[in-house]
């Protein structure tokens, strides 16, 4: 009796689904978070009778085969990389990306990580860092005498130094693009890493060659929609229960068999 095992694959798939949904809901307020979606596939089929098998010498054929599936599996949890809504924060070092692209962050081990979270800060030396204190790539240092830092849609960082009337250029923010951004590896802390599946990063100036533009004083919110997540959660929970019912149904059939004497 395969039904027991088949239904158990269904239960574990729904369990995985609930895990993905709960992580989305937990990150509903995480800046730049991109929601994930669990993708499922059916498993191999046992071909009891193949469609098209010959049934007589006259060449008659089986019109439809007899196929018994063996359940379901979770294939992947790709991220949905759609734009999150942008909210005004009125902090001059908050930057949202409107469109494609990721900010680049230098990790303490020297690697580059990618993020959509543009809530930047200044460290003690005035270097532009992310909320974990890792420097933004390329490095931008804002002197202590700077007043009113401005970041243009093209990523140009300017500030007025020593009460001068002409702004000084401090640096140029760049964005990385990937052919397959769903293939990025999530490392937590709002950071992603490049993988063989994502393809190499293509570094561009914002607003050029398909990259998005920057919005100073704004942050990109998570692209999680609480209503759809809750609806998906209910569907997953019910599907779990129905698979559990199949197991108890299969069990009662086995019980009927075992009580035969």
């Amino acid at each position: 009796m395969k039904a027991l095992y088949i239904a158990s694959t269904g239960m574990s798939a729904q369990e995985r689904n609930v895990e993905v949904i709960s992580n989305n809901i937990a990150n509903m307020r995480t800046t730049g978070y991109k929601r994930q979606r669990a993708e499922f596939e059916d498993l191999l089929y046992q071909q009891v009778t193949r469609a098209g098998a010959q049934t007589s010498d006259q060449g008659t054929m089986v019109p439809a085969g007899l196929e018994i599936g063996s359940g379901v599996r979770t294939v992947s949890t790709p991220r949905v990389m759609s734009q999150g809504s942008v909210n005004i924060t009125e902090r001059e070092l908050d930057v949202a990306i409107r469109g494609e692209g990721f900010f680049m962050i230098t990790l303490p081990d020297g690697r580059t990580a990618y993020t959509r979270d543009g809530s930047f800060e200044r460290d003690a030396e005035g270097t532009l860092v992310n909320s974990s204190g890792y420097p933004v790539e390329p490095n931008i240092t804002i002197p202590g005498t700077a007043t009113s830092v401005s970041i243009s849609p093209d990523g140009l960082v300017q500030a007025y130094l020593n009460n001068e009337t002409i702004p000084t250029q401090l640096g140029q923010l760049q964005l990385a693009r990937f052919v397959n951004k769903s293939g990025l590896e999530s490392m937590g802390d709002n950071l992603f890493l490049e993988t063989a599946a994502s393809g190499p990063a293509q570094v561009e100036i914002p607003n050029q060659d398909g990259t998005g533009n920057l919005l100073q004083n704004y942050l990109e919110m998570a692209n999680v929609n609480s209503v759809t997540e809750i609806a998906d959660l209910i569907a997953a929970q019910r599907a779990y229960e129905m698979n559990a019912r199949i197991i108890s149904g299969a069990d009662s059939m086995m019980q009927a068999t075992s009580q035969l004497r």
Binding site: K2, A64, G69
Partner: protein, 246 residues
Amino acid sequence: MIENAQLISLSRQIALQRQMDVVANNMANINTTGFKAENLLFEEYVMPVARDQNFPTINQPLSYVQDWATMHDMSGGAMVQTGNELDVALNGTGFFAVQTGAGERWTKAGSFQISSNGTLVDINGNPVLGEGGPIQFGPEETGILIASDGSVSSSAGPKDRLRLVEFANAQDLTREGNNLFAGGTPLAATNTRAMQGFVERSNVSGVSEMAEMIRVTRSYESIASLTQKQDELRRSAIQRLGDANA
């Protein structure tokens, strides 16, 4: 005579177990994108010669039950809006064509991705076919649009058109797992529209599968109790015969 009855019950029990497997597989795939439910068909298998031949009248044919085929239920699943530009649902009877190591396969699961070298692929990494082969995107292209006839365009202008296929008889198709169908004679799709930003959910109905499961378990139990009664009947018959001889 009783032995015949038991063999007939047994044929039904085996068929019911298999039907339970089909119900379980449908239920397990209730959240699988583009999954199509299966139904099991039964037929009567007439055995011309009964195994016990001492009927008072002429020989009676016996009717066994045999599971005969699984039918793909090709009705459409619910269309769910995801807003993802690479999610495509098919409204109609058509399928997407994908290239696998074993040849062309057909799928209804339109949650696509772009691979690291820019090819449009399905969730397993198989290239999705256009009229002129796999569909390729450059690294700087944005704004991918898929029109209702399957034509693909991006910021770099119009591209290929998705190869959408239909089948005169979808029951010819065999299932391969991984959301793929194989076989059949593909025809160019005429009644299928692509919808970008949507995925087609599985067409499994939880209610009807649950009802089916209850029906299967109950008939299995009643067959089992019938088998039990036949056994008791036989036992008491043997006892009576033994008494008479003593």
